[in-house]
């Protein structure tokens, strides 16, 4: 795919070349033909004048007419009765002789010895009787001077062509740059927009079509930002509104739990079901609100110097998982948001215990600038088609299992929490089976 710049440069180059070739070429050809023509006409006229004013001496003797016809640049020859007089080296072609003998003045340009020669011939006619004398006169001169002049013209033509080509390319390059910069800006802005920065805008310069595109882009980005904002606000508002009825239901869920065994028949089951689902719904709404905060950029990070080993241990302890998980937690302190770390670790370990298989292990390591927490299990690992989507919202790996615990937002929230810390969370499969999730958080130190 050729770039815009290349196409523009090529187009200009082509245009210039064609134009320059046509113009310079045309002028050159014209000038050359004029020079040649004028030279020939002059030579013919000179010879004719000399012959006209001379008086033929037949048979031709010594210098005579030869001397008259010759000069510094011209040599002459006379053919009479089968005999040649004068310079024998004239390049008279049979065609020229034939034409001369028909009674017309004729000439021809002949190449030889690296030069072009102009040969002029005539067979003078008796003034009294109007009959040809039977004598042929020929002169020959080099056209070197003219050739040189013509070649100079050619050189100039080439030079002008080259110069205009350079000029054209420069102009094309400048024009391309003027066009390409806004195009590149637009490209980068569109890319940024696609990555999620809905505040991206493009500076509008000038009033041409590019400026129009830039303006359209800005308007569209604004609309997009607004729309997405509305959407997110709606989600947040919905989640918020759900809270109030949920609060009432949650408040009495415990009552249902306590009374369930005492209820007759299905009523007890129904009560437990309602209680459980209220809990689930509450968790879902909480997760939705959490996600909303990430999306709207209002999620706050409350950093504290935390003993990570103690924090992870506490997380496992509160959920009763300490016995089920192997740990390797050296004492490391790093600035993290205690609550958010708990959310991440709880989600990862919970997933490992539920969807992976024992033994589940949690390790903690420190590197220059980073602390790394890994949660790994020995289950079947993550299928290849699942791996790139595992952090997507509401993505459930096992679609056959339509209902698992959790809202489907757990890993997405864990990922957002990691990123809020300016850290990373990645999922992979271990070489010897099982999945491993690696959380990296900045440790605030360089050692």
């Amino acid at each position: 795919m050729r770039s815009l710049r290349t196409r523009l440069l090529l187009a200009f180059a082509l245009l210039t070349t064609v134009t320059a070739a046509a113009v310079a070429g045309g002028m050159y050809v014209n000038a050359r033909d004029v020079i040649v023509q004028q030279t020939q006409d002059a030579a013919v006229r000179t010879m004719t004048d000399r012959v006209s004013t001379a008086r033929l001496q037949l048979p031709p003797s010594g210098d005579g007419l030869i001397g008259v016809l010759s000069d510094r640049d011209t040599s002459a020859k006379i053919v009479y009765n089968g005999q040649s007089f004068g310079d024998q080296n004239l390049r008279v072609s049979p065609e020229l002789r034939a034409e001369v003998r028909t009674g017309r003045v004729a000439w021809q340009r002949v190449s030889g010895g690296g030069s072009i020669w102009l040969v002029v011939g005539m067979a003078p006619v008796n003034r009294a009787t109007n009959r040809p004398y039977g004598v042929e006169l020929y002169t020959q001169r080099r056209m070197d001077n003219e050739d040189q002049r013509v070649n100079q013209l050619a050189t100039i033509a080439w030079g002008l062509g080259a110069a205009s080509l350079v000029l054209a390319m420069t102009l094309a390059w400048l024009a391309a740059r003027g066009v390409l910069r806004p195009v590149r800006d637009l490209d980068m802005a569109a890319h940024r927009l696609g990555l999620g920065d809905l505040t991206t805008r493009v500076p509008v310069r000038g009033t041409d079509e590019l400026a129009g595109v830039a303006r359209t882009f800005n308007v569209t980005a604004s609309a997009l930002e607004h729309q997405v904002g509305e959407l997110r606000r709606f989600v947040a508002d919905v989640s918020h509104e759900l809270r109030t009825p949920l609060a009432a239901m949650t408040a009495v869920a415990d009552i249902l739990d306590e009374e369930a065994p005492n209820l007759p028949g299905d009523a007890g089951q129904a009560a437990r079901l309602v209680s459980q689902e209220t809990r689930n719904l509450t968790r879902l709404v909480d997760d939705l609100m959490e996600i909303s905060r990430f999306d709207s950029g209002t999620a706050g990070l409350a950093l504290d110097a935390v003993d990570l080993a103690a924090a992870i241990t506490a997380t496992l302890h509160t959920r009763g998982w300490l016995d089920m998980v192997e740990t390797r937690l050296p004492p490391i302190v790093a600035p993290v948001d205690r609550r958010r770390l708990d959310v991440i670790v709880a989600n990862l370990v919970g997933n490992a215990l539920r969807h992976g298989a024992a033994p589940v292990s949690v390790t903690l390591d420190a590197f220059p600038g980073w602390v790394v927490i890994t949660v790994s299990d020995n289950g079947k690992g993550l299928p290849a088609e699942v791996l790139p989507h595992v952090f997507d919202r509401f993505y459930k790996a096992d679609t056959a299992r339509s209902r698992s615990e959790g809202s489907g937002l757990g890993l997405a929230i864990a990922w957002e929490n990691a990123h809020l810390h300016h850290g990373t969370l990645v999922a992979a499969n271990r070489p010897d089976g099982g999945a491993v999730f690696t959380l990296r958080l900045p440790s605030g130190t360089t050692s």
Binding site: A236, H240, R243, T244, P245, L246, A247, A248, M249, T250, A251, V252, A253, D254, I255, E258, T282, V285, D286, M289, R293, T298, G300, D304, A305, A311, A314, T315, H317, T318, R338, R339, D342
Partner: protein, 226 residues
């Protein structure tokens, strides 16, 4: 058991909490607005106060309750109101729970806060009760400064007792949260900060340059040294 004043405007939530708390043995008086609630203060041992109220808002109710006495207050908040939590603590709340809340959880908090105001520690202190003008009666749960009794909420009292029980020793927010608020590992350390601030306002000569409760940056708080 105890008498709980529940100020919550949403009827369903109000009914639900009233139902659950009553089952646990508490006597619950419910009010739908701040004004109604304030009228029933004398009937309560503890107030459960929703911050989002029509008319007089929760913060104002909180301040009014504080102005009249040291009744323990537990705030009901929505999770995304971070600023509201801080504002509520500054207005004088002892603790807060996030809606939706399970009755069990709220009930635990109510009991904890009531405990704060009643548990006594009758062990005699080797250093005595007097700390440069500040007298702390651990048995009678009375604090006085230069002879004048200072009114503290149960939480403030408990915090002071905790800090002064090991003077000169730094206690982390975590430790204080567990000791005073009985919160688990994930308690909100802002509770400690807000309470310390209120305490200083009451007992320090110069709250900006505290003598009794000193901040040890990065570690926590310390009582003294004097």
């Amino acid at each position: 058991m105890s008498r709980v004043l529940l100020i919550e405007d949403d009827e369903a939530v109000r009914d639900g909490l009233q139902l659950a708390l009553t089952r646990q043995g508490h006597t619950v008086h419910a009010a739908g607005t701040g004004e109604q609630g304030l009228g029933r203060l004398p009937e309560a041992d503890v107030v459960v106060l929703d911050l989002m109220l029509p008319g007089m808002d929760g913060f104002e109710v909180c301040r009014r309750i504080r102005a009249e006495g040291d009744l323990p207050i537990i705030m009901l908040t929505a999770r995304d109101d971070d600023m509201d939590v801080v504002a509520g603590l500054e207005a004088g709340a002892d603790d807060y729970v996030v809606k939706p809340v399970r009755a069990r959880v709220l009930e635990a908090r109510i009991r904890a806060v009531l405990r704060r105001g009643t548990t006594t520690d009758a062990r005699p202190r080797p250093e005595g009760d007097d700390y440069r003008g500040l007298t702390i009666d651990r048995a009678g749960l009375v604090v006085s400064k230069n002879g004048r009794t200072i009114g503290l909420t149960p939480t403030e009292l408990r915090l002071l007792l905790e800090l002064s029980s090991s003077p000169g020793r730094v206690l982390s927010r975590q430790q204080l949260l567990e000791a005073v608020w009985e919160h688990g590992y994930l308690g909100d350390s802002r509770l400690v900060d807000a309470c310390v601030q209120r305490l200083r306002a009451k007992i320090e000569d110069d709250p900006a340059g505290p003598l009794y409760i000193q901040t040890v940056r990065g570690f926590g708080y310390r009582f003294g040294p004097l």
